[in-house]
Symmetry: C2
Subunit: 286 residues, 2 copies
């Protein structure tokens, strides 16, 4: 009888017994309406794994009551074509009933990291994310799962989930993909009118300006936040803007930082409604 004390040894022992080391699986969970940000994750997975699976599921439990679950853009046919072209092997497109059968009441709370920033402005959001991602990782049991840096706090929540519940995947974070004018790609950009899209550029340009100021030696967070705020609130656009937060935060805990002592630890994040469309973006201070 083998006596084992660590998670890693247990998995290795069972894998040896089963001899299942033959094929690796990469998983790219998405809510569909795919753009180049998703595709960059798919490409990464295809290059790093023997088999790539993607999921398309607009998860209702991560939307607040007054949010856009019903209106969230969907285009299954185009998504499937996209994935097929990129060499995806399996796509999992569960129904609502398959994911949330009658009697479903389970929820996962990953703790303090999920209470800050997005967690504060979207109560319940990260519990919905953690629960559905736990399900997808449990169903698919991938070697690697791929998420985008645009949703930086979501990535941290999923890393905590994966670590705490021993879900056994490597979480791979792909860089934010942007339009040539700087706007971070998001399925929700499809909601924007031309003038709103113009205004939305202030999010990324504000972040870039703050990063530039930091690179020139400014370490005080309030000065960096002001740069972003001014960029968003300046100009003569008639598009209504409502800023939820501009934050300089620790990139792991997402707690606010007053002064940036060390390169590589901090991230500037912004969330704002441009017209009726809520957008988020971030840049790392590196």
């Amino acid at each position: 009888m083998k006596i084992i004390e660590t998670v890693a040894e247990f998995r290795q022992e069972w894998a040896n017994l089963k001899e299942l080391e033959s094929l690796s699986l990469g998983l790219v969970p998405t809510m569909g309406f795919l753009h180049e940000g998703h595709i960059s994750l798919v490409k990464k997975s295809v290059s790093q794994n023997d088999v790539t699976a993607a999921t398309i599921f607009v998860n209702p439990t991560q939307f607040g009551e007054n949010e856009d679950f019903e209106d969230y853009p969907r285009d299954m046919k185009s998504d499937l074509d996209f994935l097929d072209c990129e060499g995806v092997d399996i796509v999992f497109v569960p129904s609502l009933e398959e994911m949330y059968p009658e009697g479903f009441e389970t929820s996962i709370n990953v703790g303090s990291i999920a209470t800050r920033l997005e967690g504060k402005y979207r109560p319940g959001h990260f519990s919905g994310v953690a629960t559905v991602v736990c399900k997808l990782l449990s169903i698919c049991r991938p070697d690697r799962a791929y998420f985008g840096q645009k949703d930086a706090q979501q990535c941290a929540v999923i890393m905590a989930l994966n670590r705490d519940l021993c879900l056994g995947s490597e979480i791979v974070v792909g860089e934010t993909i942007r339009s040539s004018d700087g706007l971070a790609l998001s399925s929700r950009n499809s909601y924007l009118s031309d003038s709103e899209r113009e205004k939305a550029l202030s999010l990324s340009s504000g972040l870039f300006a703050a990063r530039k100021l930091w690179r020139s030696g400014e370490n005080a967070s309030d000065r960096l936040r002001s740069v972003v705020l001014n960029e968003i609130l300046s100009g003569n656009s008639e598009v209504p803007v409502e800023i939820d937060y501009v934050s300089v935060a620790d990139k792991n805990t997402f707690m606010e930082i007053d002064r940036i002592e060390e390169a590589g630890n901090a991230i500037i994040l912004v969330a704002a409604k441009i017209g009726t469309t809520r957008l988020i973006d971030n840049v790392a201070l590196v």
Copy 2:
């Protein structure tokens, strides 16, 4: 590219690709201090699977602040001998730090079933159980996992957890194992003095008497509950007894039943402190 809509199909497809159908794993999670109840689960697993793993881990997060985590009986050497003799292949004995590393904050809530009976008298208990069982099932990924009917509500909580999070195991419930005098085996029986053990017999004898009355045609829950209460509270023992609940409940939802309309759906449960030792027991109305 394969397009898949259900969990079962996804798992089958990936298993086919990996050709990992070779060996089945049974898992028997325990808190150690093993008795014949645990051993009956181990025997069942050994008979139903190619490989059997057991875990020994006294999980702090399922104990309340004023409960017996520190005092919970432990005897690792004897437990390992027991398991080895029974043909267990792997035993997982993680440290506290291995299961709850620094920064661990995740918890799982399975919803309303966990708020009743044991959940009401032991707030947080089922969240601790669900979280640690999720971890163990995620780490070990067994084909079947074994739990005892003595902890009937725990079995229901774990079934909900396994179903809701798609953990992918079959949950197998083994019958309650009793001493020849009727007392349900429990590691906590080791706390009992001779006079307390004598008094503790009233739990099982009360349940048996109520089941007998039901079998003779009595369908009113309050009459059945009275039988159990009277049995526990009668007699001249000087052992102090504190009853948390006597419940006639639906065996799936654990909601109280007023009148038993159908055989096989109801269960009578009792929880009481005998001296300072809290014991639980139940019988199904079949």
